[in-house]
């Protein structure tokens, strides 16, 4: 059964603080109580972390149908040899860079949806990305993204932690756009804490500042929001200082971002959705080395992240969804690369999963203009995540009914 616990306890305690503050006894509440209030009630909801592989990941060289001679024929230069790859079963292997994620599969923490896509696939990066982000075609009105609609569906009280965070320096993904809730793009833990000279005394001052008895509802609202912001800053600061992990993250941007997310989750932020991107998958030329570096980067980072969350006791409530805007052409091109394609694999990694491979080996003899046909509409994966993981009705978010897949236990 999906967990839909809202943070009623936390909110109750917070509003008690706000309420007490409003009648003038705010300063009488000891700090330890306020701390406990925020800490205890927070951090119970399930969390989705989206990793976007930007540029179009070559799915065929990620999850490899090595026993299929059509694969080798189509890729004289680029086919991964059976001896190099990680052999999964009699006809499927994983790219040799993906040891970390393969370990997660063995540990029951990885689900691969082999061929995800949609009807009449678009091969423009931007248009395809917009389709994945909004679940809508160009001819339809597109004002928000699927995750934006999800956070909109959550009855969040304003003033608390943000419902979603985009980490990185890249443009904010359309998927997070909603009608009314702005999602911050942040780059590091520093963005969650008071910074600058004299921050300790300011932090102290803000904690001690009593709320005046006020009939001004707006002021009471800002006062309680400030209290939670200061608490959040405190928690993140403590978490950052005290954060130890026996898991070694690789040295990469993506790993750094995921580590930051792990710290935020551990700090008890009530944020439900995190979004990161890894760019560079548009491998039109000399693909082998580039692709192998990118996959290693992604696999090692996600693998470390999921293990780290386990160590900190959050493994069961965090799931990582990885997708790319399209797969690549089955036949390699003349530059030892591949061009824009259609269907490709999606990955779920983390807690609550029915681990394993979902779907058939792609049929390389039945192509759509040289590209793989999809077996599962990507919105069925979204629907499953929304319903079984995030605990909401997917239909209004996806704009249609999509049958869920048995991806979660």
């Amino acid at each position: 059964m999906p967990i839909v616990i809202n943070n009623s306890r936390r909110r109750f305690l917070q509003s008690s603080i706000g309420g007490a503050a409003a009648i003038g006894i705010g300063s009488a509440i000891p700090d330890c109580f306020a701390d406990a209030a925020v800490f205890e009630g927070s951090g119970k909801d399930r969390i989705l972390v989206v990793v976007q592989l930007t540029g179009g990941n070559d799915g065929l060289n990620t999850i490899i149908p090595y026993a299929d001679e059509n694969y080798r024929n189509a890729r004289p230069e680029l086919a991964i040899s059976a001896s190099d790859m990680i052999r999964h079963d009699a006809d499927t292997g994983f790219h040799p860079s993906m040891t970390a994620l393969y370990d997660r599969l063995q540990a029951g923490q990885l689900t691969v949806i082999r061929s995800a896509g949609y009807e009449q696939p678009n091969r423009s990066h931007f248009e395809a990305m917009d389709i994945w982000h909004t679940c809508r075609r160009k001819s339809e009105q597109r004002t928000d993204g699927w995750l934006g609609r999800f956070i909109e569906s959550q009855k969040l009280s304003p003033g608390g932690d943000v419902p979603a965070i985009h980490l990185g320096r890249d443009q904010q993904p359309f998927a997070l756009t909603s009608q009314s809730i702005p999602v911050p793009t942040l780059t590091s833990l520093k963005d969650f804490q008071l910074q600058g000279r004299g921050r300790e005394s300011l932090q102290l001052l803000m904690k001690r500042t009593p709320a005046s008895p006020s009939e001004n509802e707006l002021l009471s609202f800002v006062q309680s929001s400030t209290a939670s912001a200061i608490q959040a800053s405190d928690r993140v600061g403590e978490a950052a200082k005290g954060y130890r992990s026996s898991i070694a993250y690789p040295e990469s941007d993506l790993a750094e971002k995921l580590r930051t997310i792990a710290q935020l989750i551990d700090a008890g932020l009530t944020t439900r959705v995190y979004y990161v991107q890894l760019d560079g998958f548009d491998t039109h030329a000399e693909q082998l080395l580039t692709h192998s570096i990118l996959l290693r980067d992604w696999s090692n980072a996600v693998g470390a992240f999921v293990q780290d969350l386990d160590v900190h006791g959050h493994g069961e409530r965090v799931c990582v969804l990885t997708f790319s805007e399209f797969g690549r052409r089955v036949k390699e091109n003349a530059s030892a690369g591949t061009d824009h394609g259609a269907a490709g694999p999606m990955f779920l990694c983390g807690g609550g999963l029915k681990a394993g491979m979902v779907g058939e080996r792609p049929d390389l003899t039945n192509l759509l203009e040289g590209d793989l046909k999809h077996e599962h509409d990507f919105r069925r994966v979204y629907a499953s995540v929304l319903q079984s993981w995030l605990g909401v009705n997917p239909d209004p978010i996806l704009g249609d009914e999509f049958e869920t897949l048995p991806l979660f236990v």
């Binding site: 304003p158 608390g160 932690d161 009608q179 702005p182 300011l202 009593p210 800053s233």
Partner: protein, 455 residues
């Protein structure tokens, strides 16, 4: 809130006349400048209370264009920035204008229209198109709403933003037609889907080519359309005219202006808005008279309005800097405003900023305080050309206590409790730091207070 039932529309929009119960003082003058612009320094407040409130409002309204000298200086800076091709730098050029303009209300209205006709550089990319739109908004900001809408309908940045750069007869693009009615003029529920489709046909053949608007007559649908009950062979301008004649327009705009200038949580009834709406229609959709009526009104100077808005990031930061005659690194401010949720030229979506409580969450609150800290630690930040402690001295402020009172008078819409004041005092007075550092710490603390987020 059922406040509107208690507010008498006749009283609400009557000009405010100072009396003993509601005297015209520095508090109300500061309120007026905060709302009609970004804030007043000590000298301006001093001067304002010596005049009639109506005279002060008149002066704000009359400055409906930028003085030539200021304009050429600010435009020169903008041109340099346009050459970089980086729209984030363009935000800094606007920050410079916000900080320096002598025409505060004009700039505030330009910001209002930027949120109303929201267009983001995130999508448009090209800074020169964004800047042309900004000039357009400023040009009409206190002028004729019909002319403003007609210009926006042909604005390259807007049409690129709404994916309407191509509009063929066989596939009319409904996007602009829809937003024109839903977001720009009438509000949801005041038109049908059929109106959207019919209006969209009027705009066929309207295109953006090489960053310029043009009409492609081969793609123009010249057949008859029926829009909002009107029938004719309307072209784009005529389609806009049909929308502009709708009576729901004046109420829709009056409501939005009222929320922007008067109060966040006031949910004004149509009845309360009626005098504003009638004036707007009666003056052929001239913007200035409506704004003037609001800013001069009993309601505006009443407890329904004072301290009843959450300051936007721009209002907080630009306001504080202007009140203290400060200059600083505009790029630093521009980048911080984006992080705090109000990137200039970067509204979140076509609806613009929702404002009110949506400005506030734990990230944006922390960023407000951190941005203030970065500004105060930056070497380029000067107050009346001086360091903060020398500036305060020049204002006869010579102690932490008097600095607290000075900041309160200039920066706050609500009064501070004595207990908060003593905490503020303790937080900086105990240290052994130099005076300038002490005052900067105090100012940062001040601007981080919940009370300071209310304007």
């Amino acid at each position: 809130m059922d406040m509107q039932t208690k507010i008498d529309p006749a009283w609400a929009w009557q000009p405010y006349q100072p009396d003993e119960s509601q005297p015209w003082d520095e508090g109300l003058a500061a309120h007026l400048y905060r709302r009609a612009g970004f804030g007043a320094d000590s000298k301006m407040l001093h001067a304002a209370v010596k005049r009639d409130p109506s005279e002060v409002v008149d002066n704000l309204i009359l400055r409906n264009s930028q003085p030539n000298e200021f304009r050429s200086a600010a435009d020169g800076l903008t041109d340099t920035i346009l050459a970089t091709g980086n729209p984030k730098r363009l935000s800094a050029a606007w920050v410079y204008r916000l900080l320096q303009t002598p025409s505060q209300l004009l700039e505030k209205m330009t910001l209002f229209w930027h949120g109303h006709f929201a267009t983001s550089a995130d999508k448009v990319k090209d800074p020169s198109m964004m800047w042309d739109q900004n000039k357009l908004l400023r040009h009409h900001a206190l002028g004729d709403f019909s002319a403003l809408v007609q210009s926006i309908a042909c604005d390259p940045a807007m049409l690129v933003y709404l994916d309407s750069a191509i509009n063929r007869k066989a596939h009319p693009n409904e996007n602009f037609a829809r937003e024109l009615m839903e977001l720009f003029c009438l509000g949801e529920g005041n038109y049908s889907e059929q109106d959207v489709q019919q209006l969209a046909r009027c705009f066929t053949g309207w295109e953006i080519k090489n960053k310029k608007f043009r009409k492609n007559r081969y793609q123009q649908d010249v057949d008859e359309k029926t829009i909002l009950g009107q029938r004719g062979r309307f072209d784009g301008e005529e389609g806009v005219q049909v929308v502009l004649k709708q009576p729901s327009l004046e109420v829709f705009l009056a409501k939005k202006l009222c929320r922007f200038f008067v109060a966040d949580s006031l949910e004004p009834s149509d009845k309360l808005l009626q005098p504003l709406a009638e004036l707007f229609r009666g003056s052929n959709l001239q913007i200035a008279p409506v704004v003037k009526m609001m800013l001069s009104s009993n309601l505006f100077f009443s407890s329904h309005a004072v301290g009843q808005k959450i300051r936007s990031p721009v209002e907080l930061v630009i306001g504080a800097l202007r009140c203290l005659q400060a200059t600083t690194n505009s790029q630093l401010v521009a980048d911080g405003l984006l992080k705090a949720g109000q990137g200039l030229f970067y509204p979140p979506n076509v609806k613009g900023w929702d404002g009110g409580r949506s400005w506030i969450n734990s990230s944006t609150l922390l960023e407000r305080s951190n941005l203030v800290s970065r500004i105060l630690e930056n070497d380029a930040t000067r107050f009346g050309g001086l360091s903060l402690d020398h500036f305060l001295q020049s204002q006869q402020v010579n102690s932490v206590h008097s600095a607290i009172d000075y900041f309160e008078r200039l920066l706050l819409a609500v009064r501070l409790d004595d207990s908060v004041k003593s905490l503020l005092y303790e937080s900086v007075a105990s240290g052994t730091q130099k005076p300038d550092r002490k005052y900067r710490a105090l100012l940062r603390a001040f601007l981080s207070l919940p009370q300071c987020q209310i304007g």
